[in-house]
Amino acid sequence: MNVMTNPTALDVERIRRDFPILKQTIRGKPLVFLDSAASAQKPRAVIDAMVNAMETQYANIHRGLHWMSERTTEAYESTRDAVAALMNANDRSEIVFTGNSTGAINLLAHSYGRGVLKRGQAVLISGMEHHSNIVPWQMLRDAHGIELRVAPVTDAGELDMAAFEALLEDGKVGLVAITHMSNVLGTITPAERIVRIAHAHGAKVMFDGSQAIVHRKVDVRALDCDFYVWTGHKLYGPTGIGVLWGKRDLLERMPPFMGGGDMISSVTYEQSTWAAVPHKFEAGTPAILEGIGLKAAIDYVQTIGYDAMAAHEASLTEHALARLAGIQGLHILGQAQDRGGVISFSLDKAHAHDVATLLDRQGIAVRAGHHCAEPLMHRFNLDSTARASFGIYTTHAEIDALADGLIRVREFFA
């Protein structure tokens, strides 16, 4: 593909220059970072935004009447606008900031699960969820008598849509909480269809978009879902900040999760009243610097554009699947039709941990383990896999390095 003739193509060498860390070497070898699905690296723009805030414009926000506080409040709150635009939300007040995706799902499990769902109702998840989208619902089940249902995954690693629909049939499911993209299989779930079916059975839908939003344009109005969560550090932003988007009327019906400063309207010992959404859900001093960093990350991603990012990733994934298929004794977990740049695999005769360590000694960073998805591992009779995942800075040459590295590992254990 000629970059000059394709306006949406992504100039990966230029992008790599934006990420200072990619110049590092590991044991004298250039860093090949294929662990972006766990957490992405940070571009210069994010680093600079955070440094600039700390060096020139920082104070606690909301209700500070002085220049530093007013300006910092503006900077932090502009992130809410940026997130609303990124997700095509109706309204900036639908954007709630949390500590990460896990915090967002726990907020929902608490405020919607305990505050809106009724005993006897059910929550439906899928068989390919991250622990962060399993355990909060399990805790809700055990403490509040909400049933937990699990829609099975096919051998190809896709959601079993017939079974999914059957689990909604009795009308007891109040909320479907399901991944938009698996962090193990790379599978992208059919979000529009899920919403249509769930709504037809009277259930609301939350997507765990922790992985999806890194790879695909997310339009919550087009999806017509009810809640959508993601986490800043995977979208090239800082740690310490996550997002819960919810339809405004639903957020308004939900009681608060944590109590404290900033989330109140008034406090007396007898009774406190809550601030309007989204502040009702944001207790205490927010992640101010992280919000400022996240704004820079969103601006950076928007400048590159989701079309270019998705095209780059599709090309990387295709190349990787082809190269890995050529390695004897290597098995890829998941063959979904619609998939993103996350590939799990195992090697005959070599444990995933040994694979990861031996790749590391060649400068190649992949993850190995259950990827916080034990039930999915058990579904495939596995304890662990190795996983390579791609970001906007990943190159085809790095995928070749992975494949060559794996061939060496296989020979080493032969």
């Binding site: 909301h62 209700r63 009447l65 506080s69 007013e70 409040t73 503006e74 309207s265 009243t273």
Partner: protein
Amino acid sequence: MTQTDSFDDLRDLYQEVILDHGRRPRHAQRLDAFDSTAKGDNPMCGDRVQVWVKYDADTIGRVGFEARGCAISVASADLMAETVQGRSQTDARALFAAFREMARTGICPTCNAAVADALERLAPLSGVHEYPSRVKCATLPWHALIAALDGTKEASSE
């Protein structure tokens, strides 16, 4: 105020008219005879205001208020009372829209001839746009007024 010159740095926001209306509001009184009233409350900063309205045929005849708050909010309530008296409800609403815009941004691109003269009277308050958290001080009395015009009992800061 005798040392006018030495207070230049303070006076660009707290102009004489604000200090004056903040200190000696002309309309700070409960109306004995009124057609409508509403309260406004900004729990974030403790500002509280109540507004009374008496109509005179199609226009707002008189406005009175009681306010507890900073100089900006009291002055804003007083200037509001002064400027809306004798205007139609429609004009008062248009004036609020224009004023709110001015308080938020410092300028008022949408301001048209119909409210231009009244807005000039309110212009000293435009400096609050530099302090987004104090914009509410200036607009709270207006929220209460609009609530009274709407027949709602309570308004809260945006």
